[in-house]
Every structure is written in C-alpha cells, then in structure tokens.
C-alpha cells in the first residue's frame, strides 16, 4: 500500500500528522512543567545553591528548605554550638552545619492546618447547601427559577476586593475577623454558586423515573431524595466537592485581607517565609511544593469532570 492510494479517513488523522501533533504537545507540556519542576528541585537545595549562577541542575540535596520551613533557626557562635549535646534530629544537624540552632517550630504547620480546616469545612457546607438547592431547582417548579440561578451565579463573578470592603467592616462588627468560622462562612458563600450549578447538571442527568417509582412505593419526597437521588449523584457530589476544596485551598484575596494570625491560611503566609536577607527560597519552594502536591492529586482525580467544573456544568463531555 502506498500512501497515495491509502487515503486516510477524515475523522482519523494520518500517522505522520499524529506524531507531529503529539511531539508538539509533549514539548509544550514539558516546557510548562519546567517552572514546577524547578520549584520542586529548589526545595532540596541549600540556600547558596538556590541562588547560584548559572542555575544548578546537579547539586547536593539537603533538607535545609524543609527544615527552614518547619522550624525557626537563629545564628549562634561556633563555641556555643560546640558546647551543645549532639544533634537529635536531621534539622538540628542541618542548622548546626550553618552555625545555626533550631529555636522552635515555625508558623507553617498551624497555617497549613488552618487551610485544611477552612477548606474542608467550607466544602462540606457548600456541598450540603448546593445539593439541596440543586435538587429543588432540578425537580420542582420554582417561580423565577432562571433569575434565581443567574443571581446565584452572579455572586461568584463579583470582584473579591469589592466584596471584601463591606465584609471586612461586617466581620469586624460581628467579631468574625480572623476566625476560622468567618472564613468558612465566606468561602461557603463563594462556593455555593458553583456547587448549585454543577450539582444541578448532575441531578438533571438522573432519570426522574427512579424517584417516581419510589414515590409510588410509598416513599416520601425526602426519603426518595435521600435513598434514591443522593446515591445516584455520588460521583457528581465528589467532583463538586473537589472543585470547592480546590477553590478554598487556593483562595488568597479574602484570606490576606480578612485574616492576619489565628485563622491565616497558607497562601498569604508563603510570601512571608523570610530567611537571612530576603525570602528564604528553599523554604518557600518547600512550602510551595507541599501546598501544590494535593492539587496535583486532585487534578488527576477530576480529569473527567474538569470541563464541567470550569464551565459551571454547561459543557458536559
């Protein structure tokens, strides 16, 4: 067979065009991963290696970054360090090699915990509210349905800073500034719109016949909702939850304006990881790596539903 007579199907591109397309896409993918890979490497560099010129690809890996992230260190005289008992942890060892001692834990862990609590708390609430509202919008005749749905979506489009001015005043007045519950409430309000729109799409896809059969069998509406609809919508609920989780995890504008200590999440904290003379890049890189890794996992989990999520459920495939 020669290629001249073997005309390929239009739907199925030819082998050569496939491999050219493939290699271009792979090149783009690798280039776009380079910054992330670089941050991952930097987390294992010593501070001098991290700012070496030319940039070092091959270096001696150290735990400086991760130790700098989880502990605060202070400079001491070599005599003082020599007088100490032998180091008990790897971070002790790393610090003493640079004439430093570990002074105590850093604020990173509490900030990370705040991120977790606020992200999971607001996700649970927004999915709960979302699944209820979505079910009602999907199954019942609600007066002004389209307007209500548009209203719900439009709240997500508001510029965060514009919302933050009055929320800042309101929270100060209610005593909710810099509290986890305040942040959970705020993120729930932002996420509930996405949650309603996405879940409505998922529930629309469940045939009504299942519920109707259950109603005939003597279930009440609420029982049918709980025992028929919820299990059927499980995949959709999980996908929606992951989207809410990612938003709350990544959010910065509200976090930086409304929290300062107690309830501060990780994104506003990372830029303030300071070492001697400016940002401590290995520690910042370590924090960034730890912060981004969960997202990588979620992206893989979500890949089939990503399109739905980013278009509020409008594009399904």
């Amino acid at each position: 067979m020669t290629s001249a007579i073997c005309a390929h199907s239009v739907v199925e591109p030819s082998g050569r065009s496939k491999s050219i397309a493939g290699s271009l896409v792979v090149v783009y993918a690798l280039l776009s991963m380079l910054p992330l890979f670089w941050i991952f490497l930097t987390a294992f560099k010593s501070p001098p290696d991290s700012i070496a010129y030319p940039p070092k690809v091959i270096f001696k890996p150290t735990m400086d970054g991760y130790c700098g992230l989880f502990s605060t260190i202070s400079r001491q005289t070599p005599e003082y360090i020599a007088s100490l008992p032998p180091p008990t942890s790897i971070c002790d060892k790393v610090a003493r090699a640079r004439n430093m001692v570990v002074a105590g834990p850093s604020n990173f862990l509490p900030r990370f915990v705040n991120s977790l609590v606020i992200a999971f708390g607001s996700t649970a609430l927004s999915v709960l509210l979302g699944v209820m509202a979505a079910y009602a919008f999907s199954r019942f005749r609600v007066p002004g349905k389209d307007d209500l749905l548009f209203f719900i979506l439009s709240t997500r489009m508001m510029p965060p800073i514009a919302v933050a001015i009055p929320v800042y005043l309101m929270y100060r007045w209610l005593g909710l500034s810099d509290t986890r519950s305040g942040m959970i409430l705020l993120y729930t309000a932002v996420n509930v719109s996405l949650s309603v729109w996405l879940l409505k799409g998922f529930i629309d896809e469940i045939p009504r016949e299942y519920e109707e059969a259950a109603l005939v069998d003597g279930y009440t509406r609420l029982q049918a909702f709980r025992k028929i609809v919820l299990p059927q919508a499980a995949t959709g609920i999980v996908a929606t939850a992951i989207f809410c989780l990612i938003f709350a995890w990544n959010e910065y504008a509200f976090a930086v304006l409304l929290t300062s200590g107690q309830a501060q999440t990780t994104p506003p904290f990372i830029p303030f990881i300071i070492g001697e003379g400016g940002q401590d890049w290995p520690a910042v890189a370590a924090a960034t790596t730890l912060f981004l890794v969960p997202i990588l996992g979620f992206t893989v989990l979500l890949r089939k539903n990503l399109l739905r999520g980013i278009t509020f459920g409008a594009v399904r495939k």
Partner: protein
Amino acid sequence: MSETTVPLTIAEHAARATPDAVARQVRGLSDRAIAWLFISPTILLLLAINIFPLVWTVRLSFTNFRANRPNAKILGVGIDNYVSVLTDPDVWAAMQSTAHFLFWTILLQTALGFALAWLVDRRFKSHGFWTTVILVPMMLSPAVVGNFWTFLYQPQIGLWNYAVQFLTGIPAASFSMIGSVKLARWAIVVVDTWMWTPYVMLICLAGLRSIPGYIYEAAEVDRASPWRQFWTITVPMALPFIMLAVLFRGIENFKMFDMVNLLTNGGPGSTTEVASITLKREAFEKWRTGYSSAFAIILFVTVFGLANIYVKALNRVKSR
C-alpha cells in the same frame, strides 16, 4: 382573623400537637415546601454574605466614611465619590493597565489554547495523559504561582532570565522582568498565559469534539482543501466555545488580583497596577472607604454586565 376565633376541632388539636418531625413522617412535606426548604438556606447565605454587604457598599459609596476612623462623623457627599473616581487619572491609568493585561492575555491564550486543542484533537498516542499534564497550571493557587514566579524572574539567578540568555544571548543579569517599567507589564502577561492557556485549550477541545465527523466527510467528498475545511467548518463551529472561554477569561482577568499582587504588587511605580490592585490600595492602604466603595460599585456593574453576556453564551453552548 376569623380563623382564630373558630374553636378547634379535636383533629386540629391533634395536628397542632404533633411534633413536626412526626407529622413529616406521616404525610411527607409538600413539593412546594421542600423546594423552598431546600433553596432558602442558599439564598439566605448569599443575601447575608453577598447582598447585604453589597447594599452596604452602595450606602458607603455616598459618604466620606473611612474604616480606620470609625468614630469620625459620617457625612453624605452625594455622588462626589463617583465623580472623583471617574475623573481620577490614577483610575484611568489602572484601567489602561487592565486593558493591556486583558488584551494580551486573551489574545495569547486563545491563540495558544486553540492551537493546542487542535493538536490534541489529532488523537495521538497517550494524548489523554499529556492533556492532564498540560492542565496542571490552571489548578494551582494564583497567589502561590505569583510568588514563585518572582523567584524564576530574579535577574541573573532566575530560571527565566537564564533561559532568555540561553536562547537569545541577552545577558541574564542585564534585565529584570519585575523591576523594569517596560517589562513588568509583560511579566504578568507571561505568567497568566502560562497558567490559563490550558483553560482555553480544554474548552476549545470540547468545541472541536462537538463537530460531527460527517461534516468533514461531506467536505472531503466535495474536495474542499484542508485549509478551507479549517476556516469554513472547524473555526465557525468551535466559535461559541472559544467565545465562552474568552468571556470567562475576560471576567476573571478584569478582576485579577492575587497573582499580580504577589508578582509585582502593581509596581514598578504603578505600571502593573490593574483595577483590583488600585482598589486594594484605596480601600486597605489609604482607607478611603467611601471612595473605594464607589470604585467597587463601578467595577461590579461592569462585571455584572459581562456576567450577563457570559450566562447567555453558556446557555447557547449548552443547547449544542
């Protein structure tokens, strides 16, 4: 009135005495009641956290209130705040920065995103895996991304400057993406494009895949050249999807705050001060609450208008 005076029957007494939970078990709630019971918590939350503050902002925008002086006398100033926002050269400079940012990010992302989607649609081996890899940047926190790009943009030691030196021979120490008045605007465009091209790609890909194969087969029968097929079938049929992506990126980038705040914080000077950064400065650094409320309302009305068009576009795509 009359209902309360009529003596209750025994059955009515029993009905009233039955705890709600039991009554629901027996009768089940009416559909109408369930609908409102299920929708109202969401609406109440949005009213409390979004609408009430919004109304408050509108009220503040007509006053000279300053949040750092809660005890000062609040005076109504009419529409003065709106007038001064709209005549403020700083605001127009911010609008210009925003326009530059919007124009270039959308142009680059649409071009790159569509090209990538078209390539992925060739369905080469393991295209699913590579698509997922490409999608990663858009899932990340814009703030954290902005922060680590300041590291990549460091003069001399940054990976970006080194790559530029490697490719073009311009010495890595001779320029600073963030520090230079000329380059800073492009620094934010590059990062945003890196981050959001995958988004446009994903939506374009859905558009390309929604085109039925038989149209191409018919075109092939008619001996239409691939070039002609591309411009008369592929582009027009994917257009609603492209528009959707463009609109959404437009809305998001019009509000852009987190990435730019951490990458350049509006600097150097105010070259990259996009609208949200100006708003933050006025509201939380200069504490001109009344003035910034007026600015916030103006931004909000703009976004609301865009959102309206966006939802219409969503519905059009949905009916495909």
